[in-house]
Amino acid sequence: MTVELAHHLYLLIAVLGLALSVSYGGQPVLCQGAFLAVGGFGVVHLERAGLPLAAAVFAAAAIAACAGYLVGLLTARLRGAAVALSTWAFAWLVYALLHAFPAVSGGSQGLVRPTPARLDSALFGVTVTLTPPVHVAVAGTLCLLSLTAVARLTRGPAGLDWAALREAPALATSLGVPVLRRRAALLATTAAFAAVSGAGITVLLGVAAPSDVSPLLSLQLFVAALIGGTARLWGPVLGLLVIAVIPPLGEVLADAVGLPAEASGGVLTALTLVAVPFLRKPIERLTARWPERAERPREPVEDSEKFATLTTSRAGVTLTAQRLDVGIGESDILTGVNLEVRAGEVHALIGPNGSGKTTALRALAGALRPKGGRISLEETDVTGAGQFEMVRRGVTRTFQRTVGLERLCPHRQVLLGVRGGTPVPFAAVRDLFGSASMHDHAATADREAWRVLHVTELAQRAFDRPGTLGAGEQRLLQVARAVATRARVLLLDEPAVGMTGPERATLARVLRRLAADGVAVLLVEHDVALVYGVADRITVLDRGRVLASGTPEATAADPAVRRIYLGDADPSSTHA
């Protein structure tokens, strides 16, 4: 009984680790059993090589973390379904390797290690015999520790990153969150948890056998983590129940119907697996409460006017495109486009639908690699630098569609941009151990977030649920997030879509305020009234070429522009 409890608690560690990738990172990882195998077999081999038990467990966890990071990097660019496919294949690959190499796995008998294990501590001069009750204590402590750690991380900068990772990866990149590395790091942590769990089980049972870490285990752990994902706090407990209840329930069922016990356990796992996706949505609806309700940090008591005029104290820069050719697939979208976005200016990019405005914006943001031409930031050539690299250099974009982070209040969303724009190395780890410097960083970030909220006139809605914001306010929030990355060049894709008249006026004020602060703004927009009210310079695109460029007055007078906007060359017909 005690042995079983310890076994389940060890498995719970693996579930908690898996929940990091599945529930927090949003990646369907199906290979937790493979990482468990790394821990289980690793600890036996390392012990045989002469390492003491504690060191062996630690080393096995480190090896698993490296493996996890590697798998994470390989799968980081894939969509959800492909992640599931590749991790599922990885689980079977490890299983096949264990069968192919009996020297590693001990064949179907498995590797046996001497029991009971003893922990010798040279430091304290004590020897602890690892009896099952000791295992229960160790595993239970580890579970509690990891639950506390995860809860703490969720409230800190890591929690913000994770929310962005799982809900809107493209947005996360545009806000300076290194999506690929974060995903890999999450999977590395997941794997380390699994290795500790596997090592614990091996020490507990005294044997590591391939059949104990089969892909079926990966599936079971995935089911448990999925259930755990629907409710963060009591989810893991529920997950444990699934692991703990299915085998005995299978036996009961087997007794009742007269079937083999193992198989009925498998049938039950399958049925649970079918039930989970059906149940997930209703459970989520049931438990979906507004998560930000409890904590409402106070706004720092400073004069809001002063806030709004505080400068970013970053030197302004000019983003230049020279003879830019951009194509998507086979078709050429832009040919020979010249564009200069100067610091302190609002530069509007207008043109009919399909003229290539958004494509130009994406190319400048680093999301599309141009086929020809050159993009430079001041004197530096940044042609072909990725989107993430551009954010690091101070070039941030917004999206045409409203990309939501439904569960984060505006204040936290802006904070995400602040942290993405000025990254602190190993923020999550330092936050976990409560480093004093992190406290300062957090205070600075909070002040910066409030400054941005004031600049964009969203401070009143700082703690409201994003769903309750009007369409126009949501567009403004997108701008605020981008501003928060301390961008020196802002590329805004139709920010005024869905805005009411007063909201457009607010947007115009915000844009002028940003320009006055030395930010270079590129504004892709259809609303000609807004453009002519706010822009210092206008470039008109038509069918991928620059039709005209210059001051608003000059472009308005340009006959070619009048022709495409007004449909004829007669200056007397001015109803646009």
């Binding site: 660019r77 894939l78 599931a84 496919l85 599922w88 294949a89 690959l93 990866p169 083999p260």
Partner: protein
């Protein structure tokens, strides 16, 4: 490896590869129309074979010699069972999580159909496992091509031999594969399917019965899987759990052949079968790598795959 052994390995690789190709064709067809990675696909193969055998023999499989009636019955049943299994997997575990016609970009509830497919596969394995308790079974051969020559084998130049059955498998498999591929290109139904794969919304707006076409694709995929099972299972001892690895290998074949192309899937299957056969015959690697190498290929192709894959499987967040 001598020339004769190499030729022999090549021939058995082709036989294995046609089976992989048939499974991969169904996988590609389904993926093309729905964007669904069908996780239960390999289990359809094994499920189809065992259901057919259980019904025809009325007992757990023995390598019995079948008369003509039973042979034909077995062949028809296995293919039908594959199609029926595929249809039920679609209706029970995939369709509830698909978006309505015209929302393929959202791909529906991905976690839902991934879990649904995995669960359906597991359920097939476990339910069969309730009846089939041995590690592996020899499955009777409905083709009976071995009796064409006295030894059941032909001499190959260079000293190797090839079973007549192997040639039959290659012939039948390739013929059916090419026939289905041609039908998908030439018939109105195939054209309609192509329309759905390119733009489900537009297809629905043009009045095409998108859901029925998707259902048909799953049925065809299941039938191809059943046929593949029929072709390869008598050559080896078949275990209930073989389905997953078989399915993953077929996915590797489909990926190698450029995901979404039915013709490519058949070619990819042939390539993968030959590679596996040479791995097994090789003195350096040997049979224990038979599963390792294809799975490694699957992972590598997924992670570092060609540009064409990116739009379908990748999101490239950076």
């Amino acid at each position: 490896m001598s020339g004769g052994v190499a030729l022999q390995a090549f021939m058995s690789g082709l036989a294995l590869g046609t089976a992989y190709g048939l499974i991969a064709m169904g996988f590609s067809l389904v993926f093309r129309l729905t964007g669904v990675v069908s996780f239960a696909h390999g289990d359809l193969v094994v499920g189809g074979v065992f259901i057919g055998v259980l019904v025809v023999l009325g007992s757990t499989p023995v390598a019995a010699a079948l008369d003509v009636m039973h042979s034909v019955g077995l062949a028809v049943l296995v293919v039908a069972a594959g199609a029926a299994l595929s249809a039920s997997v679609y209706l029970l575990a995939v369709r509830p999580f698909l978006p309505g016609a015209g929302h393929r970009s959202a791909r529906g509830d991905v976690l839902g159909w991934v879990a649904g497919g995995l669960a359906a596969g597991l359920l097939i394995r476990e339910v069969l496992g309730l009846v089939l308790t041995q590690d592996a079974y020899a499955v009777p051969d409905p083709l009976r091509l071995g009796s064409l020559t006295p030894s059941g084998a032909l001499q190959l130049p260079g000293g190797g031999t090839v079973a007549v059955r192997t040639l039959g498998v290659i012939g039948i498999g390739l013929a059916v594969g090419i026939l289905v591929e041609r039908l998908l290109v030439l018939t109105p139904v195939g054209t309609a399917m192509k329309a759905v794969s390119e733009d489900p919304t537009a297809a629905a707006l043009l009045g095409l019965p998108v859901r029925r076409l998707v259902f048909a694709a799953f049925v065809v995929a299941g039938a191809l899987a059943g046929l593949a099972g029929l072709l390869i299972s008598p050559d080896r001892s078949l275990s209930v759990d073989d389905g997953v690895v078989l399915g993953l290998k077929a996915m590797a074949a489909a990926l190698v052949g450029g995901l979404g192309s039915v013709r490519g899937a058949l070619a990819g299957g042939l390539a993968l079968g030959v590679i596996e056969s040479f791995v097994v015959a090789s003195s350096v690697l040997g049979p224990q790598y038979a599963d390792v190498i294809p799975l490694a290929i699957l992972l590598i192709v997924l992670a570092l795959g060609r540009r064409g894959l990116r739009s379908t499987l990748r999101e490239d967040p950076e």
